[in-house]
Amino acid sequence: MNTPHLSIHGLHAGYGRARVLFDIDLTIDTGTIACVMGRNGVGKTTLLNTIAGLLTPTAGTITHNGTDITRHPPHTRTRNGLAYAPQGHATFAPLTVADNLHLAHRATRRGGPELIDAALDRFPRLQPLLHRRAGLLSGGQAQQLAIARALVTDPTLLILDEPTEGIQPSIVAEIEQAVTDIAAQGITVLLVEQYLDLALRLADTVTVIDAGRIVHSGDRADLTDDTAHALMAI
């Protein structure tokens, strides 16, 4: 249970001259839900992009399942079990829902067709929409597709960037349930979430970032709701 699944050490990252993250240390244990929080623009998405390989860090290392993946391209990380659903319910708009799932499943080559069935069982709303273009889905449907697309790559670590942003409450509840179930399956979850109550319900560990640095890191159980609210108000 307590083997580190993902560990980040001394990570610095940014875009050109704009430095965003400073000396980030983060360890996530297998099968836990780690929640990264902080206000807009403090570097949460930059951190996730760096872990997924979309941004090359200027310093530091990222280790996934014991392998140093700091210099691996994104597709190699995904093929080794690191799945990422980026912010803004990103899907392949010109492709159908079915093609979105099949494409990621086949490109990753990590398991049989049962992965697609399992993802559709997880999000039954997608079933009748299989032949619709992803660009025509509502925000909530698209977010479910985005998570399903990540799940068909058979991840051991699932990274979600603000999965409830701008989504209607009924679907937020479904996504919350899905994240709980996914973690119960033994998949490690790294979640960036602005919706504090939801984050505190789901999280095993909480990390708070401000201005590119970690200002709090610890178990959810050790954090009172008042402290959490105070941290988020930084």
Binding site: N49, A52, G53, L54, P73, P74, H75, R77, T78, R79, A83, Y84, P86, A90, T91, F92, A93, P94, L95, D99, H102, L103, A104, R106, A107, T108, R109, R133, G135, L136, L137, S138, R149, T153
Partner: protein, 296 residues
């Protein structure tokens, strides 16, 4: 109206040539956003492939045409693949540098053609069954070579549509074009897809070159004559939209033929350019765009 009907076959024929020249650009420019100025020279290499098969290898016109199509596709495709791998890959996000770089490559290829085949144009004889023509009722004459180019263009369009929509590789290509980062985190090797896209786009230039030998002489600047029109077709069609490219090519072809029938060649060109400018003022995104509920 009569004039328009009379010009329709000519317009379709011009459109088919434009379409063949633009199909490859639809991949490299339309889909990947790379301005490859050497694309015209890839067309020229395709044309000389047909010439070499006939004049050097001694194949008869029919066989040299049939053999030249796949050979030119492979040859110019490989050239494009090498160009992407060796140079263009290192200049993504730097369009001006890419433009100058590929322009230089184009000049090198032109000079190589001059050194190898001489500066004067050479002739690739068309097969006998394509030199004939059919006269339609009403006195409109259809050259068989034009019909062949029209058919070839349509076959290419169908093959591309099938590739993009029905094969895993084609869907990967569409995914990378739509959202490169998302494609990467979906397990797609985007670098490999770029190389394939460039191979196919450049290969189609070779096919266009072979087709052009049927309707005119072959020279080192053959491709340069078509490149501007080909870029215009892709822009008007809406970047990377196959349907748009097809529609734009035929619209430009028919417009060109009609304008030429009423005026002369240079004035026709001027009218066509004026029409394009007016169209792009009204619809800068081209004929077709991707449908999505999102605002961007």
């Amino acid at each position: 109206m009569d004039a328009l009907v009379n010009q329709l076959p000519t317009g379709l024929a011009i459109g088919a040539v434009l379409l063949l020249a633009a199909l490859g650009l639809n991949f490299t420019f339309g889909q990947m956003g790379v301005i490859n100025m050497a694309h015209g020279e890839f067309i020229m290499v395709g044309a000389y492939t047909a010439y070499v098969l006939h004049a050097w290898a001694g194949l008869d016109p029919t066989w040299s045409l049939i053999a030249a199509l796949p050979l030119a596709f492979t040859l110019t495709g490989t050239l494009g693949w090498l160009l992407e791998l060796g140079l263009i890959r290192h200049f993504y996000g730097r369009p001006l540098d890419t433009l100058l770089l590929t322009f230089g490559i184009g000049m090198i290829l032109q000079q190589a053609a001059r050194d190898t085949f001489g500066a004067p144009n050479v002739d690739v004889p068309a097969p006998g069954w394509l030199t004939d023509g059919t006269t339609l009722p009403g006195g409109i004459r259809l050259h068989h070579s034009r019909l062949f180019i029209l058919a070839l263009a349509l076959v290419c369009v169908l093959a591309i549509a099938h590739y993009l929509h029905r094969t895993h590789q084609g869907r990967q290509m569409r995914a990378v074009i739509h959202n490169r980062d998302l494609a990467g985190v979906s397990g797609i090797n985007t670098r490999k897809v770029d190389a394939t896209t460039f191979f196919i786009g450049s290969g189609l230039a070779g096919v266009a070159g072979v087709a052009l030998t049927l309707i005119g002489p072959t020279g080192p600047t053959l491709g340069a004559n078509y490149i501007v029109d080909a870029f215009l077709v892709v822009v008007i069609g809406g970047l990377g939209r196959l349907r748009g490219t097809v529609l734009a090519a035929f619209a430009l072809g028919i417009l060109n033929a009609t304008a030429q029938a009423w005026t002369d060649a240079s004035l026709a060109k001027l009218l066509v350019f004026a029409a394009i400018i007016a169209f792009l003022q009204a619809r800068p995104q081209g004929l077709f765009t991707v449908k999505t509920r999102a605002l961007t």
